[in-house]
């Protein structure tokens, strides 16, 4: 069997590489200011752990392009606006650029920027019984207004505690795009506000979906249920996540930002959050 072709850093001298570099530079929402990492300032084990995190992050960012890619088709089925569909395409491209940014961090930390894992492309949820408008709304809400807002909170949290100037600068670059990815969920709801107001049965259906979706999100992102680990000062400085903070950031974000944000559109998200359940939903 032929070995999987590794995905590495983009070429710079080929025609495609130069075109990519042009696209990438014009899409960056903030410029990088720190270009060198000082490994000597830290425990080598902490640097190695940080490198492992960035390696996983690189693969995750790369894979997540598929979610936005599939979402584009669903927005077109829903006859969403041209601009909202274009922004989703942009966000998909952001994820590819993030893979490159993560790769740069890996190299700076002494590793090799390569994605060797298989990339499994899953179909995006179709939500049997839903019309195209609600199908797209459910997936935008979950992908952006829920999971990407939590991701943004994680980055804000990391920025608030890490101190290494290079990794902080790299994280800031990712954060600047994650803000858009999270906000898109609410921007999209705003675009559909009039339609939602005219279809109360869809708002009720979205609230029923959220009862399950919140429970799944909690399982995936809250950080509750794992073990204990005390991170070192060097690990904290390098931006490694503190397990003790994960649930707090998650619940504060859900209750302080996501739920009230969704309720602005007449979706009973507060009730759905309180009654969240992985079991069958009525």
């Amino acid at each position: 069997m032929t070995a999987l072709r590794a995905i590495g850093m983009p070429a710079r001298k080929t025609a495609l590489g130069q075109e990519y570099a042009h696209i990438s530079s014009t899409m960056m929402r903030c410029a990088r200011a720190v270009h060198a990492f000082d490994a000597k300032a830290y425990d080598p084990r902490a640097v190695e752990t940080a490198c492992a995190m960035w390696r996983v992050r690189m693969a995750s960012e790369y894979r997540s392009t598929c979610v936005f890619g599939a979402l584009v088709a669903q927005l077109m089925e829903a006859r969403a606006s041209l601009e909202s569909t274009a922004v989703v395409l942009r966000m998909g491209q952001d994820e590819l650029r993030h893979a490159e940014v993560c790769g740069e961090a890996i190299v700076a930390l002494g590793g090799e920027a390569r994605i060797e894992d298989p990339i499994a492309i899953r179909p995006l949820a179709r939500h049997k019984g839903c019309g195209p408008e609600e199908r797209a709304l459910r997936n935008v809400i979950y992908g952006c207004a829920l999971s990407e807002i939590v991701n943004t909170a994680r980055f804000v949290d990391a920025m608030d505690t890490m101190s290494d100037p290079y990794l902080k600068d790299v994280t800031r670059q990712l954060l600047s795009d994650e803000v858009l990815h999270g906000q898109f969920g609410f921007h999209y709801l705003e675009e559909w506000r009039a339609w939602l107001e005219a279809t109360p049965e869809v708002r009720a259906s979205l609230a029923r979906y959220l009862k399950h979706a919140f429970a799944v999100l909690e399982t995936q992102l809250s950080g509750v249920g794992g073990g204990h680990k005390t991170i070192t000062a060097d690990e904290r400085a390098l931006g490694l996540p503190d397990p003790a903070r994960l649930p707090e950031t998650f619940y504060a974000t859900l209750e302080g930002a996501i739920v009230p944000g969704l309720e602005r559109f007449g979706i009973e998200a507060g009730t759905a959050w309180r009654e969240r359940s992985l079991a069958d939903v009525e």
Partner: protein
Amino acid sequence: MAKDRGPHFLRVVQALAFVSGLGPVGIVASVTACSSSGDLGADASADAYTGIPSGVAPVFPDAADAPIYDGQALGLFPYDGQVLGAQDTGLTEDDAGPLDANTDGTLADAAIDSSGPVPIGGPLYPPELPA
């Protein structure tokens, strides 16, 4: 509980509240909380944030040490021309809590694993409702 978490969590939740479109009340509340803890130093006053445009350039000399306010520059806090007084917001650190009862459970392991509980970037695949 909220006080135990300190201003950091107030800043996180207020930043994200802003992202989700709830309005500008988080800015001054965050400044107030930050000032009271002293972690922004002598410049930590509401006046220091007057006139900040949304954009991409860091506007603080030491922005790396003020990430939420750096977040302001990143567009987290789109300045709308009005700085509310802390008294107008009615917010205190207590507004950041309380936490959900589920946080009494065991905390997550910090193992870095794409299939584990630590988020590492990118949207998650939305779930289907159970059949």
